[in-house]
Symmetry: C2
Subunit: 204 residues, 2 copies
């Protein structure tokens, strides 16, 4: 391969190949695009990549991502957010999905992952103590445990539920509904989803 491509282009392909889910063919396409684009586009992308660490930080209360010059997440600090209702999510980007519904006026708490013994992630690596503090301080009334519908997400939800009960905290806890997604035909729904949809059926 070293004879085939200029060194700088090969380096660029290697670098882009680090991005999640990007194989060598995709990295080649990206690199070729960047080779043909204007220098100002490359410079702009390069500086965005270099600067993201220093310009983004984590909200000390919700662990959402915020600007480096902000003190708290606006989704927590702003007056229209109900601090007594907290949605617990795994990752910061999960907040975007929930906000896009436009339905939720509570606040968020990012755990920073899910319990996964295989990956060596135990409850002690997640922002659970901070959640307990927050429940007490903000007199939280309801916790929506919005972890993913994966094995790890379910384990984390179960763990949290037990942990909070064991801590003697009386609070309403809920989990997002599971069922058939909008636009999916019954025949294409998998068995487990269908079981959940049956269990969670609603009287008309």
């Amino acid at each position: 391969m070293s004879r085939l491509l200029p060194t700088a282009l090969e380096k660029l392909i290697d670098e882009l190949g680090r991005l999640p889910g990007v194989g060598s063919r995709t990295a080649e396409r990206y690199a070729y695009y960047l080779l043909r684009s204007e220098q100002r586009i490359n410079d702009s992308m390069a500086s965005a990549i270099s600067e993201v660490h220093s310009r983004v930080k984590t909200c000390p209360v919700t662990f959402a991502l915020i600007d480096a010059d902000q003190e708290l997440s606006p989704l927590y600090a702003e007056s229209d957010r109900d601090k007594t209702l907290v949605a617990v999510v795994e990752e910061p980007l999960d907040i975007i999905s929930l906000e896009r519904t436009g339905q939720f006026k509570g606040t968020y708490h990012v755990l920073g992952g899910a319990i996964s013994p295989i990956d060596g992630i135990g409850p002690e690596q997640l922002h659970i103590p901070e959640l307990i503090d927050r429940i007490k301080r903000d007199e939280v009334k309801e916790l929506i445990i919005a972890t993913n519908a994966s094995v790890e997400g379910e384990s984390t939800a179960l763990f949290l539920q037990k942990y909070i009960k064991d801590a003697g905290i009386e609070i309403t806890m809920s989990r997002l509904a599971r069922g058939i997604p909008v636009g999916v035909d019954l025949e294409y729904a998998d068995q487990i989803t269908l079981s959940h949809a049956l269990e969670g059926r609603r009287t008309l």
Copy 2:
């Protein structure tokens, strides 16, 4: 959206969204990866993106991509390459695919695209005069027209064939064989490919 994400992260998502075929979800995933990676990884990717223009140039004979400090493409200049056999390709990256076969010991000529009236690309934008010069100078005996199997690639092949004949140049010209790709069942092959496979059938 502006309330949802830190400014620098949003900028990074926008920048990454310029890459070909990258939608907003994919750009978010890439940006989140870059947010969590080490600074040296970001810096290394950023410099590869910034520097690719200045460190890569085009071979003045073959129009392949070469290092800025090279004079000619090694795939042309090296003594084991047969300069009388030229494969004509649309884009520089097509060379990699042909080289990967390990079967071709000729040289390459990159046209820099294909004729596409819709995109405003006519023959005058392609490196055709340079190809004619080269055929004469290097006494080229055979031209493999390896443009893509698309409408544009076919038109370009037909145009080249006629152009070279009209210029009074006597030379063997061929086109890559079309047929059923290895590992594909007959029932899944499309009609046009199958027609080509029939036409191009080989006596056993």
